[in-house]
Amino acid sequence: MDTNDSAMLLQVFSSVFEDFAFMFVDADDDPPEPDSECCPCLLAQISFSGRDHQGRLEAAAPEDLCEELAENILGTGREELPDDAAEQAITEVLNVACGYLLAEKFGTDEVFDLSIPETRTLSEPEWNELAAGGRHLFLRVDESPMLVRLFLDA
């Protein structure tokens, strides 16, 4: 990812987390250390397709962070959350971030169709491989690690 995309992703995710859940995001220069305590993690992906641009946005984060996100969005305790609250919360953040990012990067003239976001659980080796791959932007959300990446089709 180029520097402009990284800066834009940081700006977009910071804004979405703050507006949605009153949580604060910082960029992290170094990838998260391998850490079994942060797993299981969730990986969420959304694709977009417009007249001139196609691609996808993905985010990975520990399930605990996603549950905290759900708690903050709804202003409720963990015991009151629906069963799949963690998946739903990261999915919704990704959905909102994607709409915001596309407008920031390509303007508001191009119409984009977004896919229904999908999530899956990442095992500890998968999370560590993603973190060590060097292709994602490393974020800290209230001290928890998060990985985000924008893929643009050629």
Binding site: L74, E92, N95, G99, T108, D109, L114, I116
Partner: protein, 124 residues
């Protein structure tokens, strides 16, 4: 007598968030109805008296635009205001939604005060 609202979004988080925002407003809401997509929403509209609809666009099975088209065919948009709550930022698409007859458009994540103001204007 209070208002019946229909909240249409495939995300349970957003459905709860909209309901909670309505709950803390001073609007008199007597019934909350929910749907995960446009098809379920049309079924709810057939079965219940609904005063206002809050709908997302990007949903599986039947998306929000298809739902609004179906509501238009049944002439429901003249009597039931639809508020779209979406991540959509394309000017053309928002203009298209307004030309289809939606009464308001709110971007996610919405500000509760703005949400309450828009809903009050539509209902009162």
């Amino acid at each position: 007598m209070g208002y019946n609202v229909l909240i249409v979004d495939n995300s349970v988080i957003i459905r709860k968030m909209v309901a909670k925002t309505l709950g803390i407003s001073d609007l008199d809401i007597s019934g909350y109805y929910y749907a995960e997509n446009g098809k379920q929403a049309l079924e709810q509209l057939d079965e219940n008296w609904i005063d206002i609809v809050f709908a997302d666009i990007n949903m599986p099975v039947m998306n929000g635009i298809e739902m609004i088209e179906e509501m238009n065919k049944k002439d429901l948009l003249t009597t039931i205001p639809v508020v779209v709550i979406s991540t959509e930022r394309s000017r053309d698409r928002i203009d298209h939604l307004k030309s289809m007859g939606i009464r308001a458009y709110l971007q996610k994540p919405f500000v509760p005060e703005e949400f309450a103001r828009v809903v009050k204007e539509l209902l009162q």
